[in-house]
């Protein structure tokens, strides 16, 4: 075995080193793109658009908060079947002729999102607001689902 003197590589010998580093950054950044976060959320690759939905509850109401940027109020439909709340609608394309899409990450078309509510709600008293691209649906709990205080008399 012979010992060879260690020669560090000179940067000049690797003119394309920076390109490799860029490639690495590009690969890393793939995982930060919206695609991956929505992929994780939907659990399916080509499932269209599944808007993020948060649920809150207090003793009288359940509130569903849904991210629906860029919709028209008229194009949002809210329906309730038993304990299943469904929010659906259509986002229309605003691209006209003579325009060329260079990058399309925004979803265009119909979407549908359902969630099972933890308790029964009163379907007649549902109200909703749409502001800054966020839909908030307030669903009053049905009387029988509200927590009750039962008085026990001890003799």
């Amino acid at each position: 075995m012979s010992l060879i003197r260690y020669q560090p590589l000179e940067p000049m010998a690797w003119p394309s080193l920076e390109r490799w580093s860029n490639l690495r950054d590009d690969l890393n950044s793939l995982f930060e793109l919206p695609f991956w976060s929505s992929f994780a959320r939907q659990g399916q690759l080509f499932g269209g658009w599944s808007p993020a939905l948060d649920l809150y509850q207090d003793k009288d109401n359940i509130v569903a908060v849904v991210e629906l940027p860029g919709m028209r109020k008229e194009d949002i439909e809210i329906s309730l079947h038993d304990r299943t709340l469904t929010i659906s609608g259509e986002r229309k394309s605003q691209t006209s002729n003579g325009e060329k899409a260079e990058r399309t990450e925004r979803y265009i078309g119909r979407f549908r999102r359902s969630i099972t509510l933890p308790t029964r709600v009163d379907a007649n008293k549902i109200s909703a607001t749409y502001r800054d691209g966020i839909l908030a649906v307030t669903l009053p709990k049905a009387e029988e689902a509200k927590p009750k205080q039962i008085q026990v008399t001890v003799n």
């Binding site: 919206p34 976060s37 908060v65 003579g98 990058r103 502001r131």
Partner: protein, 123 residues
């Protein structure tokens, strides 16, 4: 004219604050580009758009609706949004225009006069 609005994703990566890159769409029309960025929960007050070194950065702090009660199911991301786009050299940075409607920021990026197609008369 293919290069147009390229993202620059690794700027400021060292910073501690976490951001979410919002979804964006870019459309080219004859005399400019339209950039649409989805930022649900954002209004005019929370929005900040800056241009530096031919890079356009959108960042915002979202104001979530105040809802009474406890959170029992969450899918939304708590982080603020940020995304940087590299501008095509043909864009006239002084004439960029922005508006926000129902959580979508629409930026109009007109091309500079000197890059628009024109006919040259031969005398």
């Amino acid at each position: 004219m293919n290069t147009l609005v390229r993202e620059n994703r690794d700027a400021d990566r060292a910073q501690n604050e976490q951001f979410v890159a919002p979804s964006a769409s870019v459309v080219e029309a004859g005399d400019g580009y339209t950039l649409e960025v989805e930022m649900p929960g954002v209004n005019k007050e929370g929005l900040e758009i800056s241009i530096e070194n031919n890079e356009l950065t959108i960042r915002e702090r979202r104001s979530l609706p105040t809802v009474e009660g406890t959170l029992i199911h969450r899918e939304s991301r708590p982080e603020n949004y940020r995304r940087t786009f590299e501008l095509d050299p043909s864009i006239d940075a002084d004439k960029i225009n922005a508006k926000i409607d129902q959580g979508v920021v629409t930026l109009t990026l007109p091309k500079a006069e000197h890059v628009k197609p024109r006919k040259i008369a031969v005398s």
